[in-house]
């Protein structure tokens, strides 16, 4: 029954530790399919938002509400966090656990920064403009779409923290490498979704 040993304490790490085992390959492919489903999920939300974005019911419009400065900084933060997660995966493939943890930590901090700014943004709309989830169909659609994305970021951060703490002392092996890799894929995905949120909600809302 010692045959799990080579997975937990491999003598040499292969080139792509995240896909060295069948379980790793399955996780990799499974997450890709999951992201395919998530695409439809967000597509449905975008469709709903696009059809309701002018239904302000007399409340503030998107031109009056949105300020591109804050959203621009949020975009930069999330895009950068995607880059730092790439660095982390690069160090994973080189079997450099410490550097991987470092870059993952930076990724998490950028994510938390993004989330804090989003919470500030929502609070600003609610207190300054009285623009809430309940005030109009536009409000419902806006908070639902952007909030679903924010919820995905929150879940990602919790996932990342769990992974980092759990594996802090034991380093990289063939069992946890796929887990780090699937997190990184997921993180890229929510970054891509944000690019669409930025374009469709904020840019089109301000200019379109």
């Amino acid at each position: 029954m010692m045959s799990n040993d080579h997975i937990l304490n491999p003598e040499t790490m292969p080139q792509s530790p995240e896909k060295a085992t069948l379980e790793g390959k399955n996780k990799f492919l499974g997450l890709w399919f999951f992201l395919g489903g998530e695409t439809v999920l967000f597509a449905s939300l975008f469709g709903t938002y696009l059809s309701l974005k002018n239904s302000t019911a007399g409340g503030p419009t998107s031109e009056e509400l949105f300020g591109l400065e804050l959203v621009f900084i949020m975009t930069i933060m999330l895009l950068t966090s995607s880059l730092t997660s790439v660095y982390a995966m690069y160090h994973m493939k080189n079997n450099d656990f410490k550097k991987m943890q470092l870059w993952l930590g930076i990724t998490g901090l950028l994510g938390i920064g993004f989330l804090a700014m989003e919470i500030y943004e929502f609070a600003h709309y609610i207190t300054e403009y009285g623009f809430t989830f309940r005030s109009s169909a536009f409000g419902s659609a806006f908070y639902t779409l952007v909030g679903f994305h924010g919820g995905h970021v929150t879940f990602g951060i919790l996932w990342l923290i769990t992974l980092m703490i759990r594996n802090a002392k034991r380093g990289l092996n063939l069992y946890n490498a796929p887990k780090f890799n699937t997190f990184s894929l997921y993180w890229h995905f929510i970054d891509v979704v944000w690019v669409f949120v930025f374009t469709v909600v904020y840019l089109m809302g301000k200019v379109g």
Partner: protein, 618 residues
């Protein structure tokens, strides 16, 4: 540990085993029991509908209760009976058909089942807690957003939880079929049922998220006062219809494609012939799935989307008749000149062809926009979709269980009872639904509680109700057969049907690791290839060695239970804030279970080579 599992266990141990199992064969049993239970429930609801309509202005049930019964009949049959029973057959057959020891994610397989089960139970709790959902299985807004009481809330939460389970199941089968095929089992050598499962899983993956979002919007409107469907605040009720049918139309192909695959396997096995037009069958399946995504608005012809949109969706819908026709002709050609055995599995399959074809023809009729203004919301539509769903999916489920019962449970179902069940159900089915075409054409609207006397609807409705009782007798005979065969039935050999595919090359029921050595596939219908060109046995593709197995886990049950509790919290927090305790408590249980799963290493165990050799001697 592994040897003990094959020995006699106490009752408690068996229950615990099923609560924690991650074995696809046992999960198939669970889906069968769960789906079978809800099938009976949905059947009772159907009988209540038909008894109410047996004569004009009947007062068997009240109008409000009738609305609850029609809503729950549709919802139960589609989400809680047909899909789980199909998932049960997929779990039973697909890993064996591709020569795998289990699915790619055994843990998620178990989670998918428990989510379905708890979602179904949550939905049906509504009966005892102030009334079931009553806005129809389609739950159109604003009917659903303004429906009083908590009925529709149960619909929203129950389907959300059950739907998550189905999505997980879909991803699992996709990865299993891509990554876990045995050596030599190329894509174009996969049995049609495996192909159909693969394509169905793609449909599940891309269709269910639209329902998820639809349900979220409905949930937010009902429970958190958002304004998606509130026209006074700029909302738009048509969004629900679009989201529901973007999911809902692929859903009908999710129901029918697996049985198309299953019939292909059955026709080929019992005609002793290779499936006619294998490649065409595979591509027809894909084409149906592809077109299935772009026809959703044919459910909305009368909404007023305009002539251009209606025409495009009408033509796309009619186009689906082409690949479906290819399939019908290929099945006929498979039987042509074959050495045909007629048993219960084959009877259900033979009954399917004309029944489903009638449903397909009325499908083209309702796809015609101008004519659909006449058919819409009448019994003609009811007759149409029961011909495809009962004549297709339900016939297929019965055929599939007759075919794979020996492999699933180690016993052969009794043939005499099987034939009695088929003929009563078959006659009852046509008696119930054929006449409904004409009731619909004469203008009888669907979902009405009563109809008036002397409008030429009396006799038709009476005949329809009599037919429903025949169907009920057929189902009861089948269930008696299942229990009887389990107790007194003939023990099944490994290959009772002179089969063609890999599942028949191992014992019935298979050992928990399925294949001692993974088999080498040398062509389409691999076992048949060995029977005609080899020694009748599969050649091993690997030497006897250790087998890696996943550990059982109770976490899927706990996680689903957490969401179940949270579901009640969501539903009742509108009445009393104290229910937020249930909401957050339930979510904490579910999230906690996820974290436990995440931080606890679960590498599975290995069956040693010596142990496998010992078992071979027994």
């Amino acid at each position: 540990m592994s040897i003990a599992a094959t020995q006699k266990q106490g009752f408690g141990a068996v229950i615990w085993d099923y609560l924690t199992t991650v074995d696809h064969k046992k999960i198939a049993h669970l889906y069968t029991f769960g789906g079978g239970f809800f099938f009976i429930l949905g059947g009772i609801e159907a009988l209540i509908i038909r008894i109410q309509l047996i004569k004009p202005e009947n007062d068997f049930v009240s109008a409000g209760f009738y609305n609850e019964v029609i809503t729950m009949h549709g919802t139960t049959m589609i989400f809680l009976a047909a899909m789980p029973l199909l998932l049960g057959l997929m779990n039973a057959a697909v890993p064996l058909q591709i020569g795998a020891r289990d699915v790619a994610f055994p843990f998620l397989n178990s989670l998918g089942f428990w989510l379905f089960m708890f979602g179904g139970i949550l939905l049906n709790c509504s009966w005892f807690l102030g009334g079931a959902p009553d806005a129809g299985w389609t739950s159109y807004a604003p009917l659903s957003t303004t429906s009083p009481g908590h009925g529709v809330d149960f619909y929203v939460m129950g389907l959300q939880i059950a739907g998550a389970g189905t999505l997980i199941g879909g991803i699992n089968f996709l990865v299993t079929i891509i990554n876990m095929r045995a050596p030599g089992m190329t894509y174009m050598r996969m049995p049609l049922f495996t192909w159909a499962t693969f394509v169905t899983s793609i449909l599940i993956l891309f269709a269910f998220p639209a329902l998820t979002i639809g349900l979220f919007l409905l949930m937010f409107d009902r429970m958190f006062d958002s304004a998606f469907f509130d026209v006074t605040l700029g909302g738009n009720t048509i969004i629900w219809q679009h989201l529901f049918w973007i999911f809902g139309h692929p859903e009908v192909y999710i129901l029918i494609l697996p049985v198309f695959g299953l019939f292909s396997d059955i026709f080929s096995t019992f005609s002793k012939k290779r499936l006619f037009g294998y490649t065409a069958m595979v591509f027809a399946t894909m084409l149906i799935a592809f077109l299935g995504f772009m026809v959703w608005a044919h459910h909305m012809f009368t909404v007023g989307l305009g002539p251009v949109a209606n025409t495009i969706f009408s033509i796309a819908t009619m186009a689906i008749a082409v690949p479906t026709g290819i399939k019908i002709f290929n099945w006929l050609a498979t039987m042509w000149g074959g050495s045909i055995t007629i048993n219960s599995a084959m009877l259900w399959s033979l009954g399917f062809i004309p029944s489903f074809t009638v449903g397909g023809m009325t499908g083209v009729m309702v796809a015609t926009v101008a004519a659909d203004y006449q058919y819409h919301d009448t019994y003609f539509v009811i007759a149409h979709f029961h011909y495809v769903i009962v004549g297709g999916t339900v016939f297929g489920i019965f055929a599939g269980f007759h075919y794979w019962w020996p492999k699933m449970f180690g016993r052969i179902l009794n043939e005499t009872m099987g034939k009695i069940a088929f003929w009563t159900f078959f006659i009852g089915f046509h008696l119930t639904f054929f006449i409904q075409h004409f009731l619909g054409l004469m203008g009888m609207p669907r979902r009405y509680w009563v109809f008036l006397e002397d409008q030429n609807l009396d006799l038709g409705n009476f005949i329809s109700t009599i037919g429903a009782f025949f169907m009920a007798i057929g189902v009861i005979v089948f269930f008696i057969n299942a229990i009887y065969s389990q107790v007194k039935g003939e023990k099944a050999p490994a290959d009772p049907w002179d089969g063609r595919t890999l599942e028949w090359s191992i014992p019935s029921p298979p050992p928990y690791y399925n294949f001692k050595q993974l088999p080498l596939t040398r062509g389409l219908d691999p076992l048949w290839v060995e029977k005609t060109e080899g020694n009748g046995k599969m050649t091993p593709a690997e030497p006897l060695g250790e087998i890696h197995m996943p550990n059982n886990s109770f976490i899927p049950f706990v996680m689903s239970l957490g969401l179940f509790i949270a579901g009640f919290g969501f539903i009742y927090q509108t009445d009393n804030n104290a229910w937020f305790i249930a909401l957050f408590g339930g979510m904490a249980i579910a999230l906690g279970a996820m974290i436990v799963r995440s931080v606890k290493d679960d590498l599975g165990y290995h069956i040693s080579k010596e142990e496998l050799e010992r078992e071979a001697d027994e």
